[in-house]
Each structure stands twice: as C-alpha cells, then as structure tokens.
C-alpha cells in the first residue's frame, strides 16, 4: 500500500513505460507522418523521464545532463524530420506513411 501512496522510482518508470508504449504505438500504427513524428517525441521523452528518475535516485547529475542533451537532439531531429516530411509531401503529394512504399522496389 505504501508503495502506491508514496511516490517512488517505480511510479516514474511506470509513467515512462506507458509513455514509451504510447509513442511506440503511435509510430507503428498512425498513418500521418506528423503523428508518427509526434510518437517519436513521446518515446524520446519517455527516455528522458527514465534518465531523470534514475539520476534523481542515484544522486548524480549525469542523467540530467543527458536528458538536456536529448531535448536538444529532439529539437534538431524534429527540424530535420519535418523537412523530410515536407519533401515527401512535395514528391508524393501525401504524408500517409502507409502509402509510401517505393523502397520496396
């Protein structure tokens, strides 16, 4: 019972796992490329939560540092990914990832 009432590392990790799963689900199932990209952001943030939680309970600053790094990385990634999506849209007139399968050939 105490475990449920007191906020501990398990809660963070659970939140992180739920967030990761939602992100993964979005990446795997959504048709819109933008939504897929959003799913990726969710996954990244799930990772961030993990880093911060472990960092907090471990007493070091490495996790904080890496999560900041990840935020920066995510921003850059979003920029590049959005540019790619714009280009995809220019070529295929669509952002539906399920219809873009020219890699097959």
């Amino acid at each position: 019972m105490e475990q449920l009432t007191t906020i501990g590392i398990n809660h963070y990790l659970t939140i992180s796992a739920i967030l990761f799963s939602l992100g993964l689900y979005a990446v795997m199932t959504r048709k819109n490329a933008i939504v897929v990209l959003m799913g990726v952001e969710l996954i990244l943030n799930a990772a961030n939560i993990n880093f911060l939680a472990f960092s907090h309970y471990n007493g070091g600053m490495e996790g904080v540092m890496i999560s900041l790094f990840v935020i920066v990385l995510a921003a850059a990634e979003a920029a590049v990914a959005l540019a790619i999506i714009i280009n995809i849209y220019k070529i295929f007139k669509s952002v539906d990832v399920s219809s873009i399968d020219s890699m097959k050939e």
């Binding site: 993964l24 990446v27 795997m28 990832v97 399920s98 873009i100 020219s102 890699m103």
Partner: protein, 739 residues
Amino acid sequence: MHSLIQLSIAVLLLPLLSFVILIFFNRRLPRRGDFVGVGILGTTFGLSAYIFWVVIVQHYDPAFRVAWDFTWIDFGNVPGVGPLVIKMGIVIDNLTAIMLTMVTLISFLVHLYSTGYMKGDKHYGRFFAYLGIFTFSMLGIVLADNLFAIYIFWELVGLSSYLLIGFFFEKESAADAQKKAFLANRVGDIGMWLGILILYSQFHTFSYHEIFGHLAAGEFGMSHEWLTAAGILLFMGCVGKSAQFPLHVWLPDAMEGPTPVSALIHAATMVAAGVYFVARIFVLLTPEALYVISFVGAFTAFMAATIAITQHDIKRVLAYSTVSQLGYMVLGLGVGAYSAAIFHLVTHAFFKACLFLGSGAIIHAMHHEQDMRWMGGLRKNMPWTFVTFTVATLALAGLPLSSGFMSKDAILAGAIGFAQAEGGGIYYLVPFLGFISALMTAFYMGRQIWLVFFGESRTHLKPVDPDDHHAAHAHGGEHHGVHEVSWNMRLPLVILAALSVFVVYSPDPLDGGKGWFMHMIQTPETVVGETAHAEPALHMEVVEEVAALGGVQEAVGEHATAAMHTESHTYADPRQAEIGHLSHAAHNQAIMISSIMVALGIALALLFYVFRIFDPERTARAIRPLYLLSFNKWYWDEIYNATVIKGSLVIARFLSWFDANIIDGIVNGVATLTRKFAFASGNFDRYAVDGMVNFTAFFVNTSGAFMRKLQTGKVQTYVVMVILALFGYFVYYFTQLVY
C-alpha cells in the same frame, strides 16, 4: 671428284630426267615425246660408251677402281644401334663399266625399237616414261657402292617392272602378272634385307668395300654359319630378281608386258640385277653358300629348259630359256666361275634382247599372233628378222663362233672343275644338269626356229575363235599382210645380232679366256676364311692331281699349304685357286661335251621337226606324264596355289575371322562399356549434379520469394520488425541470464 664419277652421275640421272619429262609432259610434246626418251637414252649410251672406252680400252687394268661417296643421312649415335651414318656413293670398276654400257645400249635400242612396236598405243608416251625410270633404277644398282643404295634401286627396279609388266593393265592377265612379279620379288627382297642387316649389325657400314675389308681382316664377330646365312639371304634377293627356283614363277608371266619390255627385263635390266648383285657380293660368300647357289642354279637351268621344250607361245619359250640361262649364270657364280658367269650375263643380254625384239617383230607382223603352231614360213616374209633371230639363236644354243658358246662353255668348264675339286660324287650333278640343259636348249631353239621361219604358213590351221578379230584378219592361206618391220625395229636387231658374234669378245672362237673380257673381269679374291672347308688331306690330294694335269704353278701349292698351316683368313683362297685351275684344265673337255650336246639337240630338233622321223605329237602321247609335267611347267603354279596361296588365304581368312570376331569384339565391348558408362555418367550429371544445382536455385528462389514479402517498403513494418527483433533478443538474453 674424278671425271668418270661426274660422267657416271650424268649417266644415272639422264634416264630419270627422261622419266620426269615424259610422265608430266608427254601429251604436250609432239609424237608424245618419244624423241625425248630415245634422244636422252642415246646420249646416256654415248656417255657410257665413253666411260667404257676410258676404263676398258685406255686403262685395260683388271684392278681398275674409282670410288666416291658422300654422307647422305647422319643419324648420329642411335641408342641400341650405335653410330648410324648412311652414305651414298658410286664405284666404277671394270664390271660397272661393262654393265653400264650393256644396260644403256640395250635400253637405247629398246627405246628405238619401241617407237615402231608401240606406235599407236594410247599410252605411248607413258611407256617411254616407264622405260626411263626402269633404266634409271638399273643404272642405280650398277653404280651403287653400298648395300643400302642397291636396296633402294633394287626396289625401284621392282616398282618399274611392276608398272611395265602391267602396262596393258586393262587385261586381267597383265594385272595378275604384275602383281605376281611384284610379290615374288618381295619374297626375295625380304631375305636380301635380312642379309644386309646381318652384315650391318657386325660392321656398322653398308659399303661393300668396307664390309669386305672388315671380313678380310677377320672381324666378323659371329660364327661361320651366320656368314653363310648372310650370303644365302643376300642370294635370296637374286633368287627373286633373277627368277631362280623357287621364285622363278613370275618371269614367264611377265610376258604379259609389251615385248620390248620383255627384252629389257630379260636381257639388260631386271634379271641381270640379281646376277650382278651376287657378283658384287661374291667375295663374301662362304663355300657353303656357294654350294647352295650352284645347286639352285643348276636345278633352275635344267627345270626351265625342260619346260621350254613344250611351250607353244613364242615368248614363253624365250622366257623359260631366260630362266634357264640365268640358272647357268647363277650356277657359274656358285661354282666359282665368276668371270664366266659375268661373261654369260653380258653375251646373254645381247642375244636374248635380240631374240625378244625379233619375236616382237614377228608378233607385230603377225598381228599379235604369239602361238608358234600357227606361224611358219616367215623366212621369206621377214628376211632381216630371220637372219638376226637365227644368229641370236645360234648364240643361245651355244654353237661355235658365237658369243654364247664361249661364255656357256666357260661356265661348264668351271662346273667340271668345281665337281673335280669337291671330289666328285653328288657334285657332278651340277655339270651334268648343265650339259643336259645345253642339249635341251639346242633342241627347243631348233624347234622354235623351224616352227616360226621354215615350212609353210599354218595361219589357216588356227581354230577360228569368233571372239578373236585378229584371227579373222590374218586368215587367208598365205601370210596376208605379213612383211618386214620398219628400220627402227630392224636396226636394233642387227646391232644386237652383231654383238652375238665371238670376235667382239675374243679373237679365239673356242676360248673366251683369251679375250679382253675375261682379262678385265677376273675372279676377285674371297674375303672369307676356309674354316669349314679346310680339309688338308683333300687339298693336298687335289693340288697333286692338278699338278699331274700339268697346268699348275708352284705358287698355288704354296698358297694352299700356307693357308692350311696358318688356318687364318687369307686372300689367296686355295679353293678358288683349285677350281680355277681345274676349270682351265677342263676347258677342252667342256667344249667337247657341250658341242656334242648341242649337236645332239639340234639333230633331235631336225629329226622331229624337219625330217619328221619322229612325230612330235605321237611322242608326246607316248611319254604323256613327262610331256604334261613339262607342258604344265612342272605344276609349280598349281603347287604354289595349293600350298602358299591357299595357306595364305587360310591364314588370311582366320585372321579376318579373328579380326571380325575377337578384335572387333574387344573394340565393340569397349565401345559398349564406354557407352554404358557414358549413360550412367550422363544420368548422374542430369539427376545428381543438375539436381543439386537446380535445388540450390530452387532454394534461393523460394527463400528469396519469402524474404521478398518481408520487404514491404513501408517504414512502419520495418519498425515492427525491429521491435520484434529487439524483443526476441531480450527474451533470449534474459532466458540466458536465468539459466
């Protein structure tokens, strides 16, 4: 190089040139090029005559000898044989000079004669070409200085005789005769080659001169019997070429060739080659080999003479007389009457060429009638032929004043000397057969002359053969259209008849020994030892006997005794010396006996055919078995058919069966096996190897098709796969951790 050698090379090559020109261009030349053949042979004869003049007349030296040779092929050091160098060369001595002149003269006359005889033949030009190569081959034999060269030309003579005997090859009998001649010669040639090889194995040289030198130095490494064998094997070559028993059967059949060819074969070239060869190797013949040679010769002379008596074909009688005379020559060599044998070779060449050309003239005039039974009375129609033919006949029969008389009597004297030297007994058979043959020779030649030239024409007696248009043509009682032949056929007859008279060879008609010929051709000293023959007692006895006869010099006795004491290989052979002196002593005896024999023979011929005291046909019936034996040529052809030919056929048939069943069976078995194996291998290839290859392809194909489905090209699918893979990895990782 001696100028004589240069000349002799020209003599050798000119007839070859004639052959080459005529065989290729005879159709383009006017008169089919016969003038080329006659002209070249005339030149050749001129050159030979010059050589004769220089050697015989100017030098007049029994020991004259010029030689020249060059290395033809150098094989280097052949393993198992030793150094093998084949040389070619030319030797000119008195024998060569005489033979050269004889061969070229007769060949020239035959060429000239053929321009008349062969006129109108469709292969006229080719005939002269063949005559050219025939002459070339014979000159090669005469000039060669070694056994290898002589063997080459020996085979060339065989080839050219083959071509000429089968000149009318459309006729089956001619084609058969040419094959028979060639095969019979081959049998002898094999022996000759073995003999050459025996000598080569010992001395590593083919040169006569070197072989004789080694032999005289006693360097023959094998036993005396081997030397005898070598001599007899070499003599086998002569048996084939010179038609001695038992290979004589080809020569009478060689009559199928055109008559000028018969003259050439029977006189100057082919048959002379055998006797010439034995004369060349005479010095290495051991006494044992000489016995064989003398008996073969004597038997051949006798047998052929008996056959000649009953033949009807004019050329066949002459053919058997040739065999018989060759028997004399071989007999002469065998008994050691060397010069007499050569002498007979030359005199016989001239008179036999004359007889053959004469018979050719008769056949030509009679429109190809060869059977003497339907001739007769020709002396009026053909006076030139009659006279020349008669002169040559007298020479052949051996009447005094003829050349044949001198040479034949010299041989017979030698035979008597031989028999006495050997101590009589069985050896008297040799002179005995010789004299009997002389009798028969006189008889059959008398018969021939009478049947052909005397009496009345019997052309109309010939049974009419509807197939034979010649017979119809010649019919009409008298010799319709039979007249003397043209000058180019008459001239050779006259020249040859003139050469059958004694004065050409010796001033004394009774003794050829006094002439230039016997002086120039002297018995060479033997180079083989007396090992087998040496019986001192006999020698002494004989020497005394000879001394008693009064015709002996002291030197001979000394030589004989010296040889006996040392028992070494010696030049001064006592055996030769004995025979020589006994022959000399027997000379008058021989003349007497042979004259009686000849007289008897002619008398018998007269009794049978001129005076008709004996009827030939009734006599034939009275001695029918003997007559049939003679008429059927002692059945030699039949005997050979039944033994050698049948035997060969049986062997051939067996070999054919063996080939068809065993060899072919093996081959077919191998083929079947190979085929089976190939099928198995093919199936293995098709199913196993191809199966594996196809399976690989199939596997790659299906797995590819499967993998292809994974490649959807959709990013999300890949993500799913990555996740699954990661999941799988984690599952694996954690299970590993647990255990």
